[in-house]
Assembly symmetry: C2
Homo-oligomer: 242 residues x 2
């Protein structure tokens, strides 16, 4: 749940303190950079112990709404990063979560020494082995997305022998490479012949493109390009915040 809650249903004091402060921040009454009252002032105002206001302030700090500086005080932070934050774990899971029938089809799989293009795409310098995978996901037997993936075997040696004819590589990786960072780039293209055929759409039809580059502690893991039919599939995102 979000931090955004009505003050009415706050039985506990620290939540009320947190909500009070949050409200002032979010209405702009306390703009970014504003110093919020010291703990001892809040203790006096609310008539509680310091641990109680500390808990409220700590949560606001964890939520990045305020910044706490020793000896200086607590300050309202600038509104969250303007840029986009996107999370997409796994297409199979996404389709299943939509309540639709998941279908998967491996189109091609190649194990090769990384070409210059591969190295560039993965952002690695040394020449090593990679697996290139091409596959298609469908929902209720309608093409949902085509996937073009490169896995760096130096980071994920098991991928050389994994059976991607049954399990999609995204799901496989999710279970074999636990904690990763990723960068997504979303763009739009028009379908060329090959894409049009794979997605069963017309040549020149719009496609949504997601390029995802994944790594773990500075080690490249995989680069993947997903193509979705642009006029049918939709990436829905919901969030709370200013």
């Amino acid at each position: 749940m979000s931090l955004a809650t009505d003050a009415a249903d706050q039985p506990t004091l620290y939540k009320r303190i947190r909500a009070d402060i949050e409200k002032r921040i979010l209405t702009g009454e306390w703009p970014p950079g504003h110093r919020i009252p010291f703990e001892h002032e809040l203790v006096a105002r609310y008539g509680c112990s310091r641990m109680t206001v500390n808990k409220a302030l700590s949560e606001l700090a964890q939520a990045d709404l305020i910044e706490r500086r020793r000896r200086a005080g607590s300050f309202v932070r600038r509104p969250q990063h303007q840029s986009a934050v996107l999370k997409i774990a796994d297409i199979r899971a996404e389709i299943i979560a939509l309540g639709r029938g998941y279908g998967y089809e491996l189109i091609g799989r190649k194990l090769r020494t990384a070409t210059a293009a591969d190295r560039d795409r993965l952002g690695v310098k040394k020449a090593g082995k990679v697996v290139a995978i091409n596959c298609r996901h469908s929902a209720d037997n309608v093409p949902f997305a085509v996937e073009d993936r490169l896995i760096d075997l130096a980071s994920v040696p098991d991928a050389a022998t994994a059976d991607f004819s049954r399990e999609p590589p995204g799901s496989w990786l999710l279970h074999h490479v636990p904690w990763t960072e990723a960068e997504h780039t979303i763009s739009a293209i028009v379908a060329d012949d090959r894409t049009a055929e794979a997605l069963d759409i017309a040549v020149g039809a719009p496609c949504l493109v997601i390029d995802r580059y994944t790594w773990r502690s500075a080690r490249t893991i995989t680069a993947v390009r997903l193509l979705y039919p642009g006029d049918s599939h939709r990436l829905v995102a919901r969030f709370k915040g200013g």
Copy 2:
């Protein structure tokens, strides 16, 4: 900053406890649904007071890594929502953050009683007044996005008199309507004549579309459609997580 930190630089005990648990979750040693040790067990294991382990567990709960249930215990949560989470605050701020010169141009503004199409788009039933705004954002004098927005005056009466010839409506709203929820839908289209001209691209060129629907406590505020040139602009998103 993320919760993911090395155990080495943890001088404090609660952070070490939090990191220990987090590690087991993220490596899959404790899979989703697994019950993590009770507070009193952790108290015994780490030889500290309950408040210390409680702080560690509370932060993990706030970060949505675990779920805490009274009487039952604390459980590893399923990996975050499969679907997408996207945050885009404000195009002006986005362009400025990119270090590029921001340009804004109001193309059209109309105040009217909501048509059936308007009501449908805003998701309201009662007929009321709305403001329809059409404008263009540019970066370094190159078209960056065109915006087509509808504001519900029942929720934001001030929007009727706001001067959108200087300030983009997104920025204006951000400062006048503080705490909102939003839903984004990303898709792709090909440019029609009007869009092509506005974005200075060819007819039939791909466009990235972001439809955002914003509300606050069940009240509709605004619905906006943003069109970006699909092959030039890119929505970059970075995140941490499985």
